[in-house]
Structures are given as structure tokens and as C-alpha cells.
């Protein structure tokens, strides 16, 4: 998982990001808006209901969606599932940070399967939320579409299939490295990899 610590001196610019905030509680929405403004987001879009958020998905190009589990007219899990299967491109693949306070036992698998990019436990803490935004920025998972799931690949690790089973994906890594099937690298090529490189910040 992209959990490397964030350098406090690193620069971020969210001024031009279009962020949709979805939260049914007016005070919860106030908190989110203040936090996102602090991060530099100029005017986040706000929706307290799933219906109004659906309109915004159809009419705006969204860079990030932050959604609460409970909206005024539907639950957040159903909204994310709708978004992921809506075929409204590219918004259907927009990063979604899902917030949840107490999670009902019956909702745990819904949370896993709805297609959110990351889950954040409430109460909202600016440091945690900013970390998740930065995880989203570093995100490079493929988007999966199949009859039972649409959303970012839920697997963060690519360590191959479990022992004793065949992998289901063509690019699953084998457990055994096996014999090399390409020529060895030349010493020059190896040396060039070990040359000091200019760091890109």
C-alpha cells in the first residue's frame, strides 16, 4: 500500500482540483469544507443527498470524491457502486475516499465491495485525511470491471497466487523464479544502474 510517510516540506497544489464532498450532516459538511479549504481546495462541490451528487457526477469533471457512509436519501456504499457502474467516463473511475463512523456488522463487506479507493475512519483528523489524499495521488491500481465488482483493484500486493494454486491473471508472478529465459545484463548496463542519479523531488 502507498503508505510511505509524507514529507512535511513537500509542496502540494490542490487549487485547481475539483472535489465533490458528500455528507448528510450540516456540521460534518462544515468540518470537511474547512479541512479541504485548508488543504488548498478553492471551492469544493457539496452534496447532502445521493440524488444531487448524481447530477454533479453527470455535469462536472471530478478529480476526487469524499463521501460519508450515510447520505440523506441513500447510503454511501450504494452511491459508490452506482458511480463505478455508471459508465460516466472518466468520473466512474474517479478516486473515492470513503468515510465511516461506526460501521454496522452488515456493512463491512459492502464497504469492501462498493469500489471505494480508500476508507477513512471518522472522526476526521486533517493529518489522516491529507495522508489519504496523497495516497490517492500516488495510486496506480488498475480499474477492474466484472459482473460482481467495479472499482480499483482491491489487491495492493502483487506477490503471486497463494501456494498450490494457479494464478487467475496473466501477469500474476510465479512463486518460483525459475531459469532465466533472457540473456544476462552486460556489466556496463549494471554499472549504469548503480550510477548516482539526480533525485527528482
Amino acid at each position: 500500500m502507498a503508505s510511505a510517510p509524507t514529507n512535511p516540506k513537500a509542496k502540494i497544489n490542490l487549487e485547481r482540483a475539483t472535489v465533490l464532498l458528500m455528507e448528510a450532516s450540516p456540521q460534518g459538511m462544515d468540518i470537511l469544507v474547512q479541512v479541504l479549504n485548508g488543504f488548498g481546495v478553492r471551492t469544493p462541490l457539496r452534496a447532502m443527498s445521493g440524488a444531487s451528487a448524481m447530477e454533479m457526477v453527470k455535469s462536472h469533471l471530478l478529480d476526487l470524491i469524499i463521501i460519508d457512509a450515510q447520505l440523506s436519501d441513500m447510503d454511501g456504499y450504494d452511491f459508490v457502486k452506482w458511480l463505478r457502474t455508471s459508465k460516466i467516463e472518466p468520473n466512474c473511475a474517479a478516486p473515492v475516499i470513503f468515510m465511516s463512523g461506526h460501521t454496522q456488522v452488515s456493512s463491512v463487506t459492502k464497504g469492501r465491495d462498493c469500489g471505494a479507493s480508500f476508507l477513512v475512519a471518522k472522526p476526521i483528523v486533517p493529518r489522516v485525511l491529507l495522508d489519504r489524499v496523497i495516497w490517492v495521488v500516488r495510486e496506480n491500481r488498475v480499474f477492474i470491471e466484472c459482473p460482481t465488482y467495479s472499482g480499483p483493484d482491491r489487491r495492493f500486493k502483487f506477490v503471486g497466487p497463494p501456494p498450490g494454486t494457479e494464478g487467475r491473471r496473466s501477469d500474476d508472478l510465479p512463486l518460483e523464479v525459475g531459469v532465466a529465459n533472457t540473456p544476462n545484463m552486460s556489466q556496463d548496463a549494471i554499472d549504469s544502474l548503480l550510477q548516482p542519479q539526480k533525485a527528482q523531488l
Binding site: 497544489n13 461506526h102 472522526p123 459482473p147
Partner: protein, 160 residues
């Protein structure tokens, strides 16, 4: 089963690197100071929500209807989120414990009005006593709430 794997452009990763902006530390500091500017307003609204919850608890009886419980659950969940955001940890824990009681009771098919009333009394206590001296006593109350839930509903159910 057909599985399609696609890559979409991560626009946010390009936007965030545009010239200008602020440092991560500045972003966190600004977010925290913005939150402070709405602290009184939010905590005032949270207090009203606690009173509303205590009022609506009167409609919860020994055999409560699911709608009344859902209403209490939603209010408690909101109180938990608002209280925790502004450091009212113990109020948040009491509200969270009420959510846990309602959810696990539903899963177990059991209901205990005394357990529910114990949570209401705990919320009253958290609302009236925020003193440093009372902190240990409030901790004991919160531990008691957890024992009450375990006694009423049995072990934590498996996620599904």
C-alpha cells in the same frame, strides 16, 4: 467470468504538482486552524443533538420499533463523529458504544432496555461533567458500557 482491466489517468497526481500551492505542513496547519474557527458552532450543534437523542430515548421501550432504534443509531453516530473531531473523546466513545449496542443487539436478536438506559445516563454524565477530576470516573463508566454490551449481546459477530 469476464474481467476487464483498464487504466484511467490519475488527474489529481498531475494537478497537485502544478507550481504554487503550499507545503504539506502548511496544509495541515491551515486545516486545523480552519477547524478551530468552527469549533463553538459545531459543538453547540452537537450538544443539541445529544439533547435530541436523550429526548427521543423516551420512545424506546422494552420492545422498541426498528425505526426508533435506527433514528437513535444515526444520531449517536453523528455525535461520535462531531465529538471526536474536536477532542471530546469520552463523549464520542459513549456515543460509539450506543451505536455498538444497537447494532449488535439487532444482530443477536436481543434487546435490553436497562443497557440502553445505562448508555443514556452515560451520555448525560459526559455532557454535564467535562472536568479533569472526573476523567477517571468517566473512564470507568465507559469500561462498564463495554461489559454491558458483551453481557447483553454475546461475542462480537463476524463481519458479513
Amino acid at each position: 467470468m469476464t474481467v476487464k482491466r483498464r487504466r484511467f489517468e490519475n488527474r489529481l497526481s498531475k494537478l497537485i504538482e502544478l507550481p504554487g500551492g503550499k507545503t504539506v505542513q502548511e496544509a495541515m496547519d491551515d486545516a486545523e486552524s480552519n477547524m478551530e474557527s468552527i469549533r463553538d458552532k459545531v459543538l453547540g450543534a452537537m450538544d443539541k443533538k445529544v439533547l435530541q437523542l436523550l429526548d427521543s430515548a423516551a420512545s424506546v421501550t422494552a420492545d422498541p420499533n426498528p425505526e426508533a432504534l435506527t433514528n437513535c443509531y444515526n444520531m449517536a453516530n453523528e455525535i461520535f463523529a462531531l465529538a471526536g473531531a474536536f477532542g471530546k473523546v469520552q463523549m464520542g466513545e459513549a456515543a460509539y458504544s450506543l451505536c455498538e449496542l444497537i447494532d449488535r443487539s439487532g444482530e443477536a436478536g436481543k434487546w435490553s432496555d436497562p443497557a440502553f438506559q445505562a448508555h443514556m445516563n452515560a451520555l448525560r454524565l459526559m455532557r454535564h461533567d467535562e472536568t479533569e477530576e472526573g476523567q477517571e470516573a468517566r473512564k470507568v463508566v465507559l469500561t462498564g458500557l463495554r461489559s454491558v454490551i458483551d453481557a447483553v449481546t454475546g461475542p462480537v459477530p463476524k463481519a458479513r
